[in-house]
């Protein structure tokens, strides 16, 4: 039994149809199927295949015929679904493989659909929003970003916990997941130790010491410095601990915490005491005297690392891990000398402050901002603090801050010891030891010359696997005169020994834990998955963070993030609110898009403007113009010149002076073309007796009108109004228009423009700057009809010759086509799709589906392009014309890839540049138009549906291909190029849209 579906006016090329036929034949239950355009030749093929039906016979060459032989009629549901899928996939084809970078969440989640972690390293004020999006997308988050408010941290961590996800950070400087290093990180061996830590250099110090001792770390989960704050309640730490408890390859858990809130510490301790695995914990600032129950408590990071390694090897914890300091001190520094700690790592600085205060019985006084310790001349500085890095790189990246501080502290005569750290690893300076060495050498040399006793003591946080190499860094520091110890704790202890105050750390033993134990919550499925697989990362922000991930077995996709809406807080708030209503808005937009896609534009006639536009048939002096409303006095030279030309053509004025007098007297009424169903190129000037094309959108009869193209050179649309121009307009009124109208009326339905556009786009037109193929297709279609007309032969020949000479003739047809499409779509008054873009030389105006006829304007830009000999950009008129209707429906600049030669107008070089322009335009468009597939773009359809949300969010504005008029009336076209729509128009529209859907728009 044969089943037939005819899709009227759906033109597809034969290769697509053959592929589609194969696909349909693969459907179970289909005996045979054939999908073809219903041309006469194809009808013969269908006949010979036994697939010819009455419906096929009735179909025309522009109709797609689907004939299926199958016993069960219900199979046609599957067939139709497959046809929709195939055509939509064809037109929306995505690149596969090789994508290394995206710039929005949608693309990120589509490209890396198996991602399990977002690494966020963007300015803090934007981080919370992106963290939330990542969590809402089911991703764990590692937030390198800081400056997230405590309130946001609490909210986001609670959200992460509820979703079974980990939020590592904010302000998480480093981490390791499945032995893959994240952010600022050292290359360490993997092993059976799992770390949960406040992060930063605490993790780096511990992991590198563990590595140098022969142990290994499988996970180092950063929590951020405030996780043990009483408001955050150790949410991440507890979830991470649950994960490690269940992670079989982890045998030992090492917890590193900044000074915690007591209640939170107690709660964490209950969990640690309830684990099946041994735990080493260090609560920075505490000096434990014993180990408790399941938890070995450390005083220094070095001690914590050593204890973890012993436990990892299945060995007992030793009573004391503080080996003797080898450096022999014969005579301690005299009374009054002080220690200055110049740290790049915050946790290391804290450790120094704690040990020094403890040993010297100093109060741990921070004093002014930027100091971790500042009392009695003893100073420890975290030079990574904002106080030192405002507008400057972090001291792990740039030696400058430290070099300056070094010179500064040497001015203090009491300074006897300088403590410093050099942190290696990805993200850090390529040779910090080498960069600091000259200043240190000089300082020590000066001290020696001045008989001043000065020691520089340092430690290197790193491994031999690090890009900078641990041994090399140590050697460089030693060569500069630094006494290099194997850990920060040992460096501090040496400093104290030189001060005559050896830090005594008593032996420790285990005591029973007699507190409450808890039932450790099960880790979520997502946490288990994260900890048992290599991380698959969407890296939002610093691109170099992808390098260590991919180098060590993880996967990473770069999300080249930039602030939404250029960082405009008000617009960001609106976008975020709109995002919450995304489903609703998208559904509205789909309705508008469906109308654009399903449009059936046919060129049905050519008539005088007054015959189809009532506003021009009132007997009054009414002139249509391009763009949003504009007063005559604000029109630029070319538009004013065109107005005068139209008045001369209509014989309302005898000459230019007469025209100006009437204009100044307000005798002429101006209406935007767009308000009366019309569009006009450049000045867009249209009056009663201009012949116009009539394009009918067959879906519901919506029409679009546009005047005819006059050719190039001295023409009215560019402001020329000489007698030759007026004479040509008269010829167009009396000959061209009538003959084309007559010829078009011989076609019962008119000319199917979707078919003509689909053909021409495959021949290299983008329908704004380049229309030669479409003009020839039109000539091919119309010429036979003209020849057979009962009309003057000479006039017919003139018309055909004019069409043959006018490469851009189809532009005006395309414009009317676009108008018939958008006005059909505009009947859906919902959503954020741009339905009009037009310029009047003063303003670039847009209209949006939901906001009906309201214009949102921004000042026009001046095009950038190539100029005819003798002209330059200074002479160019600002952007003008309704021809941006082409871009509104997805061609013109939006479809640059269809006509790569156009890129040469703006100094670019063809295919690759054209593709990147179209890819960029795709980012602000909702979909692709399957009717207009572009061969150069792997047969993706032209973009469709510019979305004001996307424009404002990305800051990408539509690119318009355009001719360039001379700024003075009468000169005409002086070049061609491209111009960007102003963002302001889209921003205004977004604000208005937000208000229209009840969003409170706060100005602050």
């Amino acid at each position: 039994m044969l089943h037939t579906v005819i899709q009227k006016n759906n033109y597809q090329d034969s290769i697509n149809l053959m592929l589609l036929t194969n696909s349909v034949n693969d459907i179970d239950g289909v005996s045979q199927a054939q999908i073809m355009m219903a041309s006469d030749a194809n009808k013969d093929i269908l006949k010979s295949a036994g697939l010819y039906t009455d419906e096929v016979e009735a179909a025309g060459a522009n109709d797609m015929a689907i004939v299926v032989e199958a016993d069960d009629e219900s199979i046609m549901e599957d067939v139709n679904a497959e046809i929709d899928r195939f055509l939509s996939d064809l037109s929306g084809k995505k690149d596969e493989g090789g994508i290394s970078s995206v710039n929005n969440w949608k693309d990120a989640l589509e490209t890396k659909s198996d991602a399990n972690l977002a690494l966020v390293s963007i300015p803090g004020s934007y981080a919370a929003d992106e963290i939330e999006k990542a969590l809402d997308s089911g991703l764990h988050v590692f937030s390198f970003s800081d400056n997230v408010s405590l309130e946001d941290e609490v909210r986001l961590k609670n959200k992460a916990h509820e979703k079974g996800l980990l939020l590592m950070g904010p302000d998480c400087g480093t981490g390791v997941i499945s032995s893959v290093p994240l952010a600022f990180t050292n290359v360490t061996n993997p092993g059976n130790i799992g770390i949960v830590a406040a992060s930063g250099t605490g993790i780096q110090e511990a992991t590198t010491i563990i590595d140098r001792l022969g142990g290994g770390v499988v996970h180092a989960i950063g929590t951020g410095g405030r996780d043990l704050n009483e408001k955050v309640q150790a949410t991440t730490m507890l979830d991470a601990i649950s994960g490690l408890e269940e992670h079989d390859p982890t045998d030992v858990i090492l917890v590193i915490s900044k000074p915690p809130a007591k209640e939170v510490r107690d709660n964490v301790m209950k969990t640690l005491q309830s684990l099946s695995k041994p735990v080493v914990a260090i609560f920075l600032g505490e000096k434990p005297s014993e180990h408790v129950g399941n938890v070995a408590l450390a005083y220094t990071l070095e001690e914590a690392a050593k204890m973890a390694v012993d436990l990892a090897n299945g060995d007992e914890i030793k009573a004391n891990y503080n080996d003797e300091i080898d450096f022999e001190v014969t005579k301690p520094l005299p009374e009054g000398k002080t220690v200055k700690g110049l740290y790049s790592g915050g946790t290391l600085a804290s450790e120094a402050a704690t040990l020094i205060s403890d040993a010297l019985s100093l109060d741990n006084v921070k004093g002014e901002e930027g100091y971790i310790l500042n009392t009695h001349g003893f100073q420890v500085m975290d030079l990574g603090d904002d106080v030192y890095t405002q507008g400057k790189p972090h001291p792990m990246i740039d030696p400058e801050v430290r070099v300056k501080k070094l010179q500064e502290v040497l001015q203090d005569e009491t300074t006897g010891i300088i403590l410093l750290d050099v942190v290696l690893g990805y993200g850090s300076h390529a040779d910090m030891a080498g960069a600091l060495a000259p200043s240190i050498k000089e300082a020590l040399s000066d001290a020696k010359a001045n008989d001043r006793e000065l020691y520089v003591i340092g430690s290197v946080v790193g491994t031999d696997h690090d890009p900078q190499n641990y041994a090399d860094a140590v050697a460089k520091l030693e060569d500069a005169g630094v006494i290099v110890e194997t850990s920060n704790a040992r460096a501090i202890r040496l400093a104290l020994k030189l001060m005559g105050k050896e830090l005594s750390i008593a032996d420790k033993s285990f005591v029973d834990y007699d507190g409450e134990k808890v039932s450790v919550p099960a880790a979520s499925e997502q946490v288990v998955e994260l900890l048992n697989n290599p991380p698959r990362v969407i890296n939002i922000g610093i691109e170099s963070f992808t390098e260590p991930i991919t180098a060590f077995g993880g996967e990473a996709l770069q999300f080249s993030w930039r602030p939404k809406a250029g960082g405009n807080k008000k617009l960001i708030r609106i976008l975020n609110e709109l995002e919450k209503r995304e489903d609703e808005i998208n559904a509205s937009n789909d309705k508008v898009i469906d109308r654009l896609k399903n449009s059936q534009p046919f060129l049905v006639d050519a008539k005088l403007a007054k015959e189809v536009i009532p506003e021009l048939n009132t007997g009054e002096k009414v002139i249509l113009h391009a763009g949003p409303p504009i007063k005559f006095e604000n029109m630029t030279g070319p538009m004013q010149g065109s107005v005068i030309g139209a008045m001369l053509f209509e014989e309302w004025a005898t000459d230019e002076d007469d025209a100006m007098r009437q204009l100044e007297a307000g005798e002429v009424t101006f209406i935007p073309c767009h308000h009366v169903g019309a569009v006009g190129p450049m000045g867009g000037i249209t009056s009663a007796n201009f012949p116009v094309f009539v394009v009918e959108n067959k879906t519901d009869g919506t029409t679009g009108y546009c005047i005819m193209n006059e050719g190039i050179g001295e023409v009215l649309r560019f402001g020329a109004n000489s007698p030759a121009v007026i004479d040509r307009l008269r010829w167009m009124r009396d000959v061209l228009g009538p003959i084309l109208g007559q010829a078009l009326r011989t076609h019962e339905e008119g000319l199917n423009l979707n078919v003509m556009i689909a053909r021409a786009i495959g021949m290299g037109d983008e329908f704004h700057q380049r229309n030669i193929a479409a003009s020839l297709v039109f000539l091919k279609e119309i010429t036979p009809s003209i020849i057979t007309l009962d009309a003057d032969e000479k006039e017919k020949a003139e018309v055909i010759q004019f069409l043959a000479d006018t490469d851009q003739f189809f532009l005006n047809i395309m414009m009317a086509t676009g108008k018939s499409m958008v006005d059909y779509a505009r009947k859906i008054k919902e959503g954020t799709v741009v339905t009009t873009m037009a310029r009047n030389g003063e303003n670039f105006g847009i209209r949006v589906a939901a906001l009906g006829d309201e214009w949102f304007n921004g000042p026009v830009n001046t095009p950038n392009g190539l100029y005819f000999t003798g002209y330059s950009a200074e002479l160019a008129n600002p952007d003008i014309g309704d021809s941006a209707i082409t871009e509104t429906v997805g061609v013109g600049g939006m479809a640059m890839i269809a006509a790569p030669g156009v890129t040469r107008f703006i100094g670019l070089n063809g295919l690759e540049d054209a593709q990147s322009i179209s890819e960029e335009m795709a980012q602000i468009s909702i979909t692709h138009n399957p009717n207009w597939a572009i061969p150069n773009w792997d047969f993706q359809g032209a973009t469709l549906g510019i979305d004001i949300r996307k424009v404002v969010e990305t800051g990408i504005t539509p690119i318009i291909n355009t001719g360039i008029a001379h700024k003075e009336a009468g000169v005409g076209q002086i070049g061609a190029g491209t111009v960007r729509a102003p963002l302001e128009a889209f921003e205004k529209a977004l604000v208005a849209y937000a208000e229209s859907v009840g969003i409170h728009v706060d100005e602050n």
Partner: protein, 294 residues
């Protein structure tokens, strides 16, 4: 002398085998964190506190400090290994002849876990067999006709050849020390030769293990390769590769065809290693044959 050959052999149908020497290492800790030392085409070494653990896929070539695993498992392990990285081994005895093992290979990006149940424990301890069994005509002939000299490193290295000639003329334990670490490769020919000689001392109980004692002392101050050191260590603890235990069993049962097959298999060890050890064995027998005036 008395002969002792009450050996408990594992069921050879087990997928994986482990030397009984290694089981002592494994049972010393709840888990053992070893490190990947070296990787070869057909095997790899882990190291744990100076003890090598050799993993191969040929059960006939099971090392005294080794495991053999099925080819599929071997490939899975080898693909995950990187020299220097850690491997956790957890082993539990299921009975005296089998153990369950769980391997965790820590690599960047992923942790590979391989569980091996019912790993057969192979007795690699040296038996006690009277020298008479070895000096029987057939056994000696089997050794002598096997082109051992030609296949050994001694045939091609002047230094070794010279030392060998001196020793064969008049055996001197002190002089034999010079062979420690002599030669090239993972197991230098001099070490292999000495180990063959020492092995025979320990099996036959002849010579009061004088060379063995001499070499044991010498190793305190003479160095050789890590692999040879490990072979010395296990030998001094009375363990040898599985093939040797098979050979000794065949000698004890005077199974000549088996003896010839095993000698042939041993000759395939390394470039010259098998022949070097066999040369040590043969030299031991020659020295004692002469002494006994056979």
């Amino acid at each position: 002398m008395k002969t002792n050959l009450n050996k408990q052999y594992a069921d050879r149908s087990s997928n994986s085998l482990v030397s009984d020497y290694l089981t002592k290492v494994f049972s010393s800790k709840q888990r053992l964190m070893a490190r990947v030392d070296s990787i070869f085409e057909n095997g790899f070494n882990l190291i744990f506190q100076n003890q090598l653990i050799f993993v191969g896929k040929d059960s006939n070539q099971l090392s005294a400090f080794g495991l053999s695993v099925p080819t599929k498992t071997f490939i899975e392990m080898k693909n995950a290994l990187v020299v220097g990285q850690q491997v956790r081994i957890k082993a539990t005895f299921t009975d005296k002849q089998e153990m369950d093992m769980s391997w965790t290979i820590y690599t960047k990006g992923k942790v590979v876990q391989i569980d091996m149940d019912d790993v057969g424990i192979v007795d690699t301890t040296l038996p006690k067999i009277s020298i008479d069994y070895f000096l029987a005509d057939d056994v000696l002939k089997a050794l002598q006709k096997s082109s051992i000299w030609q296949g050994s490193g001694f045939a091609t290295t002047e230094y070794l050849k010279e030392k060998y000639n001196q020793l064969i003329e008049k055996w001197d334990n002190e002089l034999a020390q010079a062979l420690i670490g002599a030669g090239i490769g993972l197991t230098p020919s001099g070490d292999d030769f000495l180990q063959g000689f020492m092995m025979m001392e320990l099996v036959t109980g002849e010579n009061q293990a004088k060379l063995t004692q001499t070499i044991k002392k010498a190793l305190d101050h003479r160095s050789t390769t890590k692999v040879s050191e490990n072979y010395y260590r296990v030998l001094l603890k009375g363990h040898v590769n599985y093939a040797w235990t098979q050979l000794f069993e065949a000698v004890y049962h005077k199974n000549m065809s088996e003896i010839e097959n095993i000698i042939s298999d041993i000759q395939e060890y390394g470039a010259t290693s098998g022949n070097d050890i066999l040369l040590g064995v043969l030299t031991f027998l020659k020295v004692h044959q002469d002494t006994a005036e056979y």
